[in-house]
């Protein structure tokens, strides 16, 4: 089964601490292949890092094995996290276990497919613009994108630092929340992590798993028209039914407006590409990674190494990011994107004055057929309309199965205020228990 789905790039085991107890003590965990594992190759789905073996493990990996979980392998992904379908991997596409002619979503498609197919109890993904939530939605499982700063990125090979977080994928809300309990927490090796005892309104003793109690009585759910407009009708119907069920369980719903999100996809791609163009400059074939045999000078050798090592989508994003930061274009693209980001953040802050969570479809579309969107990058980018605003605003969000349309999974996205993970877990668990 696993071979057919191509969910794993590398199947090797890291044993967990045998003396640990707790919810993850006997769990198997699949780890996205951009999260460093000491002694086990970590490829980022790229030819560039096909033979790269990290000398240390990411903080999240140490925390999982310390909690008794056993790592069972490294999962396939869009190259460097750049994609929405897991088709841009240098190791071939992953297939959706629900329908193997369709994509599992991306970029953490291998992680979601591994969980959906029963190859692992839990998986880690990384979410820069929806890369945990999209594959969770497409594969019919649960995925959490934590608040920026809740989970350490130490050992995560960077794509766009200011946007990304590592997050768990699991079959149930409670299992995903239990994994979040283990990986969350400040880390001296990641200066962007927060100590929750120093964050206003955050609960340093939060138990996310305990919040999965299905109790939504009195919870206010905001429903923004902007995140439903233009979505596939079958998706909208399925999500609206799930929201109606939340209402039936005691939640209140209210229509809200988030006008800024109309510009979120543009802002996201400009910022992510700009950061990528800088981050991926490190891949020069000298200290690590593939190196071309060319015997030209430094610059020629660099350029050839990168031509051979990177796939088309990665080149596209590096080039567009370089363009957006270049003289004469910086103000037009990058500065405006930062304005849009601040606007999105403010819109959500205003909305959370009145509501506890914000509900929408996770993805505006049903899972693509394999190959359907590969030649049309812009079409693929537009599928990220509902997930990217959350990364721009640094907020937590969860995708939980809302039901099926034409036999394909549909995800409901619930967004919470900063460090409001317990609230979104609680609301999502009610969707699951209905």
């Amino acid at each position: 089964m696993a071979a057919d789905l191509n969910a794993f790039v590398t199947e090797e085991t890291i044993e967990g601490d045998a003396d640990a107890d707790g919810p993850l003590a006997d769990a198997t965990v699949a780890v996205k292949d951009n999260i460093s594992t000491e002694g086990i190759r970590t490829t980022c789905g790229s030819e560039m890092l096909a033979d790269y073996v990290p000398p240390y493990s990411a903080t999240v990996v140490d925390r999982l094995t310390g909690a008794g979980a056993t790592i069972v392998g490294k999962t396939n992904m869009d190259e460097f996290g750049m994609g929405t379908t897991t088709e841009t991997s240098a190791f071939g596409p992953t297939r959706n276990p629900v329908d193997t002619d369709r994509v599992p979503g991306g970029s953490s498609g291998g992680s979601a497919a591994a969980v959906a197919a029963g190859e692992a109890d839990v998986a880690l993904g990384s979410d820069t613009g929806g890369s945990v939530r999209c594959p969770a939605a497409f594969c019919g499982v649960v995925g959490i994108k934590p608040t920026y700063g809740l989970v350490s990125r130490y050992g995560l090979i960077a794509y766009a630092n200011s946007l990304e977080q590592i997050g768990p994928i699991a079959g149930t809300v409670e299992e995903a929340a239990a994994a979040l309990d283990v990986i969350a927490g400040d880390d001296p090796n990641d200066g962007t992590t927060r100590d929750l005892s120093e964050v206003d309104g955050a609960d340093p003793d939060a138990s996310y798993a305990a919040a999965a109690d299905g109790d939504v009585a009195g919870l206010t759910v905001g429903v923004p028209a902007e995140l439903f407009d233009g979505a596939d009708e079958r998706v909208v119907e399925t999500v609206e039914t799930a929201i109606d069920d939340l209402e039936a369980r005691g939640a209140e719903t209210t229509d809200i407006s988030l006008p800024s999100v109309e510009h979120a996809v543009q802002a996201y791609y400009v910022i992510a590409m700009a950061e990528a163009s800088s981050n991926l400059a490190r891949f020069d074939g000298v200290r690590y990674g593939r190196r071309s045999d060319a015997d030209g000078n430094w610059n020629e050798s660099f350029a050839e190494t990168r031509e051979e090592g990177f796939g088309a989508e990665v080149k596209r994003r590096i080039l567009l990011g370089t363009y957006a930061l270049s003289a004469g274009y910086h103000d037009k693209y990058y500065e405006k994107a930062q304005d849009a980001r601040a606007w999105v953040r403010r819109d959500f802050e205003d909305a959370f004055e009145d509501v506890d969570v914000i509900a929408s479809p996770t993805m505006p579309v049903l899972p693509f057929e394999l190959g359907e969107s590969l030649d049309d990058p812009l079409r693929m980018y537009l599928a990220d309309a509902n997930t990217t605003p959350v990364n721009l605003a640094n907020l937590p969000a969860i995708s939980v199965p809302a039901g099926e349309a034409d036999g394909l999974p549909v995800g409901l996205q619930l967004v919470g205020p900063k460090f409001g993970e317990e609230t979104i877990v609680r609301a999502a668990s009610a969707v699951e228990k209905r």
Binding site: S260, A267, R287, R291, G296, F302, T322, G328, A337, Y381
Partner: protein, 102 residues
């Protein structure tokens, strides 16, 4: 390239030609095959046209509360030289070997 950025030459403001793609690829140190250049030129035109909508975004006050995070300047253990060199394609006498500079 930069001389056209601020100009207002109407419908072709976001058109990208092969020369521009080559220039950016050069800045980014990524060599491209000729067919890649043509494909990217067409796609970049569409994508940049879509990014044009950022023009409609109002100026927004950015009031992010950011603080520097420092640690005491104390020596900590790091990678050994052997570990640091383990992934390099070519090393010599404990050093990385890079391509020639000129």
């Amino acid at each position: 390239m930069s001389d056209t950025a601020a100009s207002d030459d109407g419908e072709d403001a976001t058109a990208v030609d092969a020369e521009e793609v080559r220039h950016v690829a050069d800045l980014a140190r990524v060599r491209l095959a000729d067919d890649e250049v043509d494909e990217f030129a067409a796609q970049f035109g569409d994508i940049l046209e879509y990014f044009e909508a950022l023009d409609e975004v109002p100026e927004v006050e950015r009031e992010e509360e950011l603080v520097n995070v420092m640690r005491p300047d104390e020596v900590e253990s790091g990678l050994s030289q052997e570990e640091a060199l383990a992934n390099a394609e070519e090393t010599e006498d404990g050093f990385f070997v890079g391509p020639k500079v000129s």
